[in-house]
Subunit: 205 residues, 2 copies
């Protein structure tokens, strides 16, 4: 996760909109937990919000980390990681995973959650979390304070109880949450408000 | 936006989790609208979900597009784009922006929404949307089917009505929505479920 911005929240009027300056605001950020092994094979989990899908073929996800992070070293060395999606049941554990470093703390032991070795890559996933992406490191882009790791998604694993009768995961059973970086808050997901490739159909001429 | 996956939703049991194969699933994807000008100065808007913050300093956002997209050409030529966050009031327009190409359609005219030239970059934003990031192209990474454009965020503009008394934007006033790529559905944001850097504090020893 990211520390609170240090500059003050000062707004300059610009028509009906206010200019808030150069900030990493986006609505919304996902909350993902990155699973890795260190060089001694100890599992670690770290929470991040600078993440997103970045390619459909090969299927890839991008996660950005600062260089001092323990997970940074683990990904660089092992060339593998998992991206785990916590449900609203595990806000506490996910937040904890973003507060302390795996250098000093066995976060799985401290949280009581269970590391399971991935079947496709040499990285652990969080057994209690409903969705897991197993990723092989494809690209490393040094962008500045953060380095972006692009992982090829080799497999997605989803809790059986979060999969609907049609074989697809259901949002209401996964119950993911999102991060508000302006206020350092977590929000759940609300109701269905529209079907994609459909809701705007009447605007097509 | 992304077309529905072509492979069937077939699951292989793996303990309590089912393996769904190599898919671009993530919970959740943001819904962003990318604003650009073409070589004749005509504004265009395109909806995307493969996006996320990727660096804090310089502040950067990544958006991934396929090469045939009109917006791809516009970003490559103009080196500038905006990232606009629609509210739940504009699901219909945001969906429409992902259904047709700016090659054939003046999407602003068709939707009735208003393009406004950015103050920091040569790209238009959507006046009716509550949050706008003005971005200068910094990096272009060809990842496969998608190319990732990393833009430096030069300014964030937020509707005055979406900013709270403390100067920070409020989730409940922005009312963003997210994309479920498994079901091609849009979901609103729910209730506050925790404070970051706080909810997990009791797990620290």
């Amino acid at each position: 996760m990211q520390p609170p911005p240090s500059s003050p929240w000062r707004a300059n009027a610009s028509g009906m909109k206010k200019s808030l300056g150069a900030r990493t605001l986006l609505y919304t950020h996902p909350v993902v937990v990155i699973g890795t092994y260190d060089e001694r094979g100890r599992p670690n989990a770290m929470t991040a919000a600078w993440a997103g899908i970045c390619c459909s073929s090969p299927p890839c996800v991008a996660v950005s980390l600062q260089k001092p992070r323990y997970t940074y070293r683990n990904i660089t060395e092992q060339k593998a990681f998992t991206v785990n999606i916590p449900s609203g049941d595990h806000v506490r554990e996910a937040d904890f995973f973003g507060m302390v470093s795996g250098k000093d703390t066995d976060k799985f032991a401290a949280s009581g959650l269970t590391p399971v070795k991935g079947t496709m890559v040499d990285a652990p996933y969080v057994d209690e979390f409903p969705v897991v992406l197993e990723c092989k490191l494809l690209h490393t882009f040094d962008l500045g304070l953060h380095t972006q790791f692009v992982g090829e998604i080799l497999d997605v694993k989803v809790d059986e109880t979060a999969i609907g009768p049609d074989g697809k995961p259901e949002m209401a059973r996964i119950r993911p949450f999102v991060y508000d970086s302006a206020r350092q808050e977590y929000y759940g997901i609300g109701r269905l408000i529209g079907k994609a490739f459909s809701a705007g159909g009447d605007l097509k001429r």
